[in-house]
Symmetry: C2
Subunit: 337 residues, 2 copies
């Protein structure tokens, strides 16, 4: 199996470089990487053959197979580009058959073992603590990017390797954009604030969102927040090993429909979380696969009213055999600061 | 032409979301994106048709072409995965021919116009200022990740949207890893320090490296640094429109060979820089393409002695018609703090 995704080769072999290719076979594991990473690879891995890559990656892989017998080499069609496949096929010659194998490593990654869950628990706790402190920064006049800067500084200062994604700090009507990027906008009194942050700690990602009002919330905003909070509770409640992902999504959507707010819920309910911030399983309509022990997912319903504002509440949930565990911490009620 | 790379669709259409697909045709431009991004897309773009994507991206694109006549649609084989191509081909049906077109948008992106160069100048100046201040943080006892945290905090505080890549802060023998990730290691007196940082400002990347010693440098380290500094000067000197990229790489390598240090120069001399931190042209062996006005590249030779330490000096260079411009600022001499 040819592995071309840096996250997957870290998972399998511990190598943290971001250029190269890993081949896993019955006869051993081989890592191809270039001069920037060979010394690092030797230090980070063990029981792996490291082949310094001189020319292109395709020619390094081709050289390796040249002169050997007939073999079949798996590759992930979701990771390998059309150009990469053509280049490798050309170099390896006709005796090597490249076979598409969908998401094999991803499937292994989706089922976290207890040590991985332990790391994710720590990452989630760190994100929760940073969220708690970030709420204290919310004073009228502060700018979105100032809050984002402080959040990401704290991630580093507290031992994380950085943000798992671009931190979202959205004030007022900008909170209606689910993926708002921080701008120079200053916070005004009584505005909605959406904070969505995740930290990478020991390679594992966390992801948490809270929505607050600095000042007082209108009756309308309180009702929206109540609806989202209930939708999130219903979705978390429905989460269990053996449950289809689409059922968890439906649980959130049903509550919002009861408030006639479902049409403002413009994204899916959640996603898998691990070494990457977006993994399988996806908690969305049409996802018939079932949750299984070792999955870690986000539950993050929201409502977004264009021109007015948005509300999202997000926590990370680990699925164990017969029970679930919410990894993130912190009050979900509408906080009026 | 089907565009699936977020950086390229920002370049062409101004949309900053990271999920969707753009189709550019003689008859107009169409953006497919999901519910998280549709409101944002309407605000960020103009004269573009936005089609909210319900199911998969492939089925949205397929629906669009269904019932139309015979058409040819270009795609970039370096951006589209094998799985994406199969899914789109299946949905669009036999009347649509998908044609591989290599790096078409990338070629446009490689030739920056004066406004883009202006933005890159600002990003480079910002990175240079942050580098200058970061050097003041280097006191015995400070940890690598503390310095990285402060650097990335300053990026945000000064208006950047964040680091263009994971900031490299490497002390002592860790400086021998060209892509070292910051750890908890504390700085000791007389150790080498490599700082490699880049900030994204108004979407454009910068990239600068300096190597210093906190205390006094050994004669050996001074000689290495002199060699790298001269290699960088020679490479910058050789940079000009019409020159082959491999010649710039050779200019740096030749100087290091004169010091018998070329075998410690384990990577290429530089890379294109722009909306992405690694773009074409690559300044490496075997790169026969010529530099042209509008290219912005890094020049970053180094020597890395395993178990001892490494040295790298990096600046960003814009190629104009008949002249070149170094965008980054700051002394390149070995600073002994």
């Amino acid at each position: 199996m040819l592995i071309t995704d840096p996250v997957s080769w870290y998972y399998l072999a511990g190598f943290t470089g971001d250029a190269g290719a890993l081949i896993v076979s019955r006869r051993g594991t081989i890592l191809f990487t270039d001069g920037r990473f060979t010394a690092q690879a030797r230090q980070e891995t063990s029981a792996i053959r490291i082949i310094p890559q001189k020319g292109s990656l395709a020619s390094a892989v081709g050289q390796f197979f040249k002169g050997g017998g007939r073999v079949r080499v798996g590759f992930d069609p979701g990771q390998v580009t059309v150009a990469q496949l053509r280049a490798v096929q050309k170099e390896v010659g006709p005796r090597v058959r490249l076979v598409p194998v969908n998401g094999l490593v991803q499937q292994l990654r989706n089922r976290k073992d207890p040590e991985e869950i332990g790391r994710m628990r720590k990452a989630a706790m760190l994100a929760s603590g940073i969220m708690k402190d970030a709420l204290k920064l919310l004073k009228p006049g502060v700018r979105e990017f100032e809050v984002a800067a402080e959040i990401e500084y704290q991630m580093r200062q507290r031992g994380g390797s950085g943000p798992a994604f671009e931190t979202i700090v959205a004030f007022g009507e900008r909170s209606a954009y689910p993926h708002a990027r921080p701008t120079g906008k200053r916070l005004r009194k009584n505005e909605l604030v959406v904070l969505d942050l995740g930290v990478i700690l020991a390679h594992y990602c966390s992801d948490i969102t809270r929505t607050v009002v600095v000042g007082g919330a209108s009756a309308r905003v309180r009702r929206w927040h109540k609806a989202v909070q209930e939708a999130q509770e219903a979705a978390i409640e429905s989460t269990n090993a053996g449950v289809r992902c689409e059922e968890v999504d439906a649980a959130a959507r049903r509550v919002l429909a009861g408030y006639r707010l479902d049409r403002y819920f413009v994204h899916s309910t959640g996603h898998g979380l691990g070494l990457a911030v977006h993994e399988d399983p996806r908690i969305a309509k049409g996802q018939t696969q079932t949750l299984e022990p070792g999955n870690v997912i986000t539950i993050e319903p929201g409502v977004y009213v264009p021109g007015v504002g948005g509300i999202r509440i997000e926590d990370d949930v680990a699925i164990h055999a017969g029970r679930t565990e919410v990894l993130t911490r912190g009050a979900r009620e509408l906080i009026e600061i």
